[in-house]
């Protein structure tokens, strides 16, 4: 760290170099008294040093909420979201997936989680005005093989799903070329993947969506009941790294999670299911839930619950997409089906 570029008293700069302090992080990690002892300066000098260093780190970082509200620039605006490709689903989420933060899609097997994430991988490639981010996606598989046949099916039917987009725009996009598939079956490979490989793709602007399918599979086999502390540490590290990638590159991260049975009322309370009598709750517990910005749950709707008007049109089974928590959405839900062309909401 080049201390000479800072607006400091030469005496302080000399003391910093003599004490072998190499970064702002080291300065802030020490208390005021420690700094005084280490650098042999008075407390007034140390206060001045701390303020100058903090100012260097945080200059021009203030925004008023009004500036955030009025920001219409698609590069920085909070209004910009990743559309799901269907207006009913987008309405439920008030625009789509937020660009900064980890969104979780949890549900039982074959409820439609992979279908939704495949759809997102295609939606991200559309231009901004059609709800996309004009970039590719990374799909990290942790257990199953990537569903390439299904992807091809959906690509072929894009014109049917996205009737709102002109055909020539859809034709120009080479969907298959921009989806990068990674396989990571254990924790170390996954760690390597998100710290090295994905940051490279993100830095080059080649992708603006990361899908992890699924995060629960990584933790299923390796941790017994006594390893809960190690498991929690891994979850927190992964969560923090994904969060940091998401913030640095303004890229949505979608993690697919599985569900476990809720044994007792207290567990149900922990996972904050606002639906009384729910038999399942998302896996990985509160440690993982603390890392999330938004949690969605998908389920196959049991027969009697179906609203009567729906039965005549949809022979495939009706599923439910529910918002469990999000800072900007009320707990709400909508129905959808999985068709040949993809996931479509039902009004």
């Amino acid at each position: 760290m080049d201390w000479d570029q800072f607006d400091l008293n030469p005496k302080v700069i000399a003391a910093l170099k003599k004490a072998d302090i190499k970064s702002i992080k080291e300065i802030l990690n020490l208390s005021g008294a420690d700094l005084q002892r280490l650098m042999k300066l008075s407390s007034a000098d140390i206060q001045c040093l701390l303020k100058t260093v903090s100012h260097m780190l945080r200059r021009n970082s203030m925004l008023t909420a009004l500036q955030l509200y009025q920001d219409k620039d698609h590069l920085t605006s909070q209004n910009q979201k990743l559309s799901l490709g269907c207006s009913v689903l987008d309405n439920l989420l008030k625009g789509g997936i937020p660009l900064v933060g980890i969104t979780e899609v949890a549900g039982e097997s074959s409820a439609g989680k992979t279908q939704i994430s495949l759809q997102l991988c295609l939606c991200v490639q559309y231009p901004y005005k059609y709800g996309g981010l004009e970039s590719g996606a990374v799909y990290i598989c942790t257990e199953d093989v990537f569903p390439s046949k299904r992807l091809q099916q959906v690509i072929d039917q894009q014109h049917k799903l996205r009737a709102d987009v002109p055909a020539e725009v859809i034709q120009k996009i080479k969907f298959g070329n921009s989806i990068f598939v990674e396989h990571a079956a254990d924790l170390d490979t996954f760690h390597n993947c998100i710290t090295k490989r994905i940051s490279l793709l993100l830095a080059r602007g080649m992708v603006r969506l990361v899908v992890v399918d699924s995060i629960a599979a990584l933790f299923r086999c390796e941790f017994g009941a006594s390893d809960s502390v190690t498991k929690a540490r891994y979850l927190q590290t992964f969560g923090a790294q994904l969060h940091s990638l998401s913030t640095r590159f303004r890229t949505p991260i979608v993690c697919i999670n599985q569900v476990t049975d809720t044994v007792s009322d207290s567990e149900a309370a922990q996972c904050c299911c606002s639906v009384a009598g729910n038999r399942v709750s998302p896996a990985l517990g509160i440690t993982w839930a603390n890392q999330l910005l938004m949690r969605l749950m998908v389920s196959r709707t049991p027969q009697p619950e179906r609203p009567p008007g729906v039965m005549s049109h949809h022979t495939g089974s009706v599923r439910t997409l529910r918002v469990v928590f999000a800072p900007h959405l009320p707990p709400s839900f909508c129905y959808y089906t999985v068709k040949l062309e993809g996931v479509k909401g039902i009004k």
Binding site: I24, S54, L57, M62, A65, T237, A269, S274
Partner: protein, 366 residues
Amino acid sequence: MQRDVGSLPLAPALRARLFTAGFQTVQELLETGPCGLSREIGISKEEALELLQVVRQECHGDVARTAAGSGASRKCTALELLEEEQAQGFIITFCSALDNILGGGVQLTKITEVCGAPGVGKTQLCMQLAVDVQIPECFGGVAGEAVFIDTEGSFIVDRVADIAAACVQHCHLIAEAHQEEDHLKALETFSVESILSHIYYFRCRDYIELLAQVYLLPDFLSEHSKVRLVVVDGIAFPFRHDFEDLSLRTRLLNGLAQQLIIIANDHKSAVVLTNQMTTRIGQSQSTLVPALGESWGHAATVRLIFHWDNSQRLATLYKSPSQKESTIPYHITSHGFRDVQPPAVTHSAEGAEMNPRKRPRREEEK
């Protein structure tokens, strides 16, 4: 100003040189200036500058001491403190049950910590308070501004705009009912845009940025003297990973708590922190406890724990110096943080959002 040179806290060698050169009072030193001093007593310019700095500090200290009377610190009686505290405003939350158990609302000059599982409403309360702190005095508010430090990225400004619109609407209703001159006047400047323009938003991506931001807060608050609320949402997130050395974490958190207490007192602001919950594994069962460890529990003056009971959200006052421990239900509507409506009124739109499964059609009708 007429202080004798011999009484200054300097190195003996330096004092000897000053005597030999003929300096007797502090006034003479200040008049000479650094260049003159360095020439006359044969020291380098840096040393002369330092010397004068020490002299000025001592004089400043003398002036402060004489102004305050006996003793360097302020003395006051408990009665004065009581009157001061009673005159202080509270920041209301729009949930009257919560305001009641807090003794009127979120108190200024104190640190309030809100803990809870994800999704229970901590960020919603913070957003509500950032709006409510700006309510004009004639409507019972403190007419202040808010600083919002976001470490998780959960501050969604559209939601804040909705909460602000509901608050303005509420004040309009009060003004219409009472028809008083100062109400209408206050409403002229109380709008969604003005509310949003007085929320100062800082995004901190790791604990270093958070520490740096808190070092800069006192100066910021001196410049923006109307700020009456500082929110840190959440304090746990940047500190719960990347720390092999937990003692460093405890020390940093304690330092942070001390700085926030000083800020709360000096600038008469409320400080609100949100914390996560973690599982503590006991002998036969596991319980949810606030994160960041036992020692962090002492940092906040008032501690609220939000939790679920089936599908009802509850708030428990867990720690408070003046109020007793109690639990109340609350509700989060499209307007923000509110009371639970009594059963007769659940047919309104606000009630429908609480139990979507009972009224699926309401959601689709919207």
